[in-house]
């Protein structure tokens, strides 16, 4: 499947999820389901972060340190740009020192 087709199918999937909420506005979702759905993005994002930085080359051990410190920066500042810029600066500093 070409990347262009993937993009279009992805757009359809995301739009369908968004639209289904509006369509099913009168539906009742069991509380347990609603609670579980609320944690899905947190779990999936965590898995993506861990999968991205684990099990790679030695270079990525620097990446793990940088991501760990970036998590601290993000927690303290609550700024998205600070997390990304801070993490990259830490990574480049570690690369320079190592």
């Amino acid at each position: 499947m070409t990347t262009l087709v993937i993009v279009v199918v992805m757009a359809g999937c995301v739009f369908a999820v968004r639209l289904s909420g509006f369509i099913a506005a009168k539906a009742t979702i069991p509380a347990a389901w609603e609670r579980t759905l609320g944690y899905v993005p947190i779990a999936t994002l965590t898995a993506l972060v861990v999968a991205s930085v684990s099990g790679r080359s030695n270079e990525m051990s620097l990446g793990i340190v940088a991501v760990g410190l970036a998590a601290g920066i993000s927690y303290l500042t609550r700024k998205t740009w600070a997390c990304i810029v801070g993490g990259m600066l830490v990574y480049w500093l570690l690369q320079f020192v190592a």
Binding site: L37, V40, I42, V53, S74, W81
Partner: protein
Amino acid sequence: MTQQLPAGEQAAGHPTRQPSADRTLFVRGFVAMMPMWTGAIPVGLAYGLAARSAGLGAIESQLMSLLVFSAAAQISAVSLIDDGAPTLVLLATTLLLNVQLLLIGLAAGRETRPGWPGRLSGAFFLTEGAFGVAAGIGRLTLPSLVGAGASMYVSWNIGTALGVTVGDAIPDPRGIGIDLVAPLAFLAVLVPLVRTRPAVVTVVVAAAIVLALRQVVPSGVAVLGAGLGGSLAGAWAASWRRSDLSPEESR
């Protein structure tokens, strides 16, 4: 602060608004979202960089932002494309990452009860941030929701264009560690969501599952398994601590 609306009834049973009132609400939502551009543009830039680093073309990268309009889904997609994950895994991850929009769409739909044109425009521009901002500036209306979403859409695409442009100017993105931008962007979205103990449980369990599953299955499948396992663990932890609200409930 709410807008004084002219009397009148729509098929859906809700008051109609004059176009000028709708425009005012749209602009109010659009402007209220603008301070959030400082968060959206850097993540958009990070996505653009990650997309180019993963080998996506400039047009494909920008088109994804124009059509998909979901930071987490787009960054995960380029990361999974880069890892060579199967398309089905990529699409399943996209759905998982956006499942919360189903709940937000339900809340927005119940509050605004739009007709089909409103449902389509509201759905396209629906994001967590847009919902929060539109609800925060007065009674939630469809124009204010669409205005806030459109504002985010503009900033997201500006950020993407910047990232694609910068990415094109870097001859060897991986050589300077640009592939680290994707996990950092995930992290920037994730950390503000982790506000309660059940959320912390979700993070710990999801991390443990993905590390274990990666030993036996491809990375994309491990992410899906961790997404499901972690969310079940979070819900279980929340049911033991009723005083802690889920991310959705605390909004």
